[in-house]
């Protein structure tokens, strides 16, 4: 678990080395693909309140739980159980090797920074949504766009869930 979660950081370093070598060989400089900051590790018995990552506007992704549930209701464990495949589907085929965590991280960061819609929903929760974009980095062409919804606890600002959706909140 630790090795996988820490991988984006290592990946960025490795990718930078590869690109520098290619750049030196070609006589050009190249910017590495952006990589999400590493997420804290959540194992089988990691406490629910352990922070996976803190985002802007006081929004926090925690391991969530309940611990030991195969149907966790909030946090990283919920997103892993319910929406890993959704974000892996989005990440599929990106030539810059974003993985599901990169896409989920980008979604939370983007929504936290500048949501398109924020509305209160029942149970002291906020629904926030935002469009994110799939671009061709070479041409700048927009290839696809996708709305992502995030639900947070209005008091603690902890992420309960995050998933792609056809409509805004």
């Amino acid at each position: 678990m630790n090795a996988r979660i820490a991988r984006p950081e290592r990946r960025a370093a490795e990718l930078t080395v590869v690109l520098v070598i290619i750049g030196l060989a070609l006589g050009v400089t190249a910017a590495p693909a952006s990589a999400a900051p590493p997420w804290g590790a959540c194992g089988r018995s990691t406490p629910e309140d352990k922070i996976v990552r803190q985002f802007p506007a006081g929004i926090t992704l925690r391991c969530g739980g309940p611990i030991g549930s195969s149907d966790p209701r909030h946090g990283y464990r919920h997103i892993l159980a319910r929406h890993r495949t959704d974000f892996e589907n989005m990440a599929f085929g990106t030539g810059t090797f974003q993985n599901w965590r990169d896409v989920a991280d980008l979604s939370i960061e983007t929504i936290a920074n500048d949501p398109d819609v924020t509305v209160p929903v029942g149970g002291n929760q906020l629904c926030m949504s935002r469009v994110i974009f799939l671009n061709d980095r070479r041409t700048g062409q927009l290839v696809r766009q996708q709305i992502v919804r995030m639900f947070i606890n209005a008091t603690t600002r902890d992420v309960n869930t995050l998933h792609p959706h056809q409509r805004h909140c």
């Binding site: 089988r44 209701r73 495949t85 149970g123």
Partner: protein, 252 residues
């Protein structure tokens, strides 16, 4: 979230909350349904017994009792969001495939279970490394069977790490296949239950979803970061390695 009135059951209150989420709940039949969402196909069935829902709300509320004034109200809101999420998340490809959401007793505790039209059966052999020849053959056949159930004209090619689908192929070198699934299982260790089952379900759903979405064929390959990834076969007229990236802004 208003309190449930004397005449209103928890199920009624939940359906009202789902309607506020924009879902068309039809309670005229014995098994309430939620109308098709977008291009999501037939209606989904809701199987929510009043007693199980009450126990489930108690269970959720208990987690909020230490720091919320009205934990039951928080629980109602959270469960309504959960259910709406089951019924509307588009799985990253624009389609929701959930066909039934049920509350069931699992080892004495109520649990929400979703059934999707792309659920796959676990492979018959669940022991041993994934690239063990017997395990690999069984899992390849199980994936092929799952894809057939999804409507693909599919066959596992005997003696080859390949599934043929309508002129497309899924290429699974056993060594990469083992690394890929073991990495997924490692990730799913964070959950309760069997990580191998979680990883298998995710794997089946991903492959079927990508093929249904028009992928020209799929291969496992090692990315520059060392992670084994599922990548598309290049089409004849397309860039074999398009530099696509999800971003907060359109264009760069």
């Amino acid at each position: 979230m208003p309190a449930v009135g004397a005449q209103e059951t928890e199920v009624d209150a939940l359906f009202a909350a789902l309607r506020r989420h924009g879902l068309a709940v039809d309670t005229r039949t014995a098994s309430p349904t939620v109308a098709p969402r977008g291009n999501g196909g037939p209606a989904a069935v809701l199987d929510l017994a009043e007693d199980l829902l009450g126990a489930y709300l108690d269970d959720v509320a208990a987690g909020y009792a230490p720091f919320e004034d009205d934990p039951r109200a928080v629980a109602r809101g959270l469960v309504a969001v959960q259910l709406a999420e089951h019924l509307t998340a588009d799985h990253g490809d624009g389609v929701n495939r959930v066909r039934r959401v049920s509350l069931v007793l699992d080892e004495g505790a109520p649990r929400l279970v979703e059934e999707r039209n792309d659920d796959g059966d676990a492979p018959p052999s669940a022991d041993g490394p994934h690239d063990d020849p017997a395990v690999f053959a069984a899992e390849l056949e199980a994936l092929a069977r799952h894809l057939r159930e999804q409507g693909f004209d599919t066959e596992a090619v005997p003696g080859r790490a390949t599934i043929r689908i309508d002129g497309r192929t899924v290429e699974l070198p056993p060594d990469l296949y083992r690394v890929y699934l073991e990495a997924q299982e490692e990730e799913f260790e964070a959950l309760g239950g069997d990580p191998r089952s979680h990883a298998w379900a995710a794997w089946c759903r991903l492959v079927a979803g990508l093929l249904r979405d028009g992928a020209p064929g799929l291969s496992l390959a090692t990315a520059p970061d060392g992670e084994v990834r599922l990548v598309p076969h290049p089409t004849s007229d397309a860039d074999p390695d398009p530099p696509l990236e999800w971003s907060a802004e359109p264009g760069h």
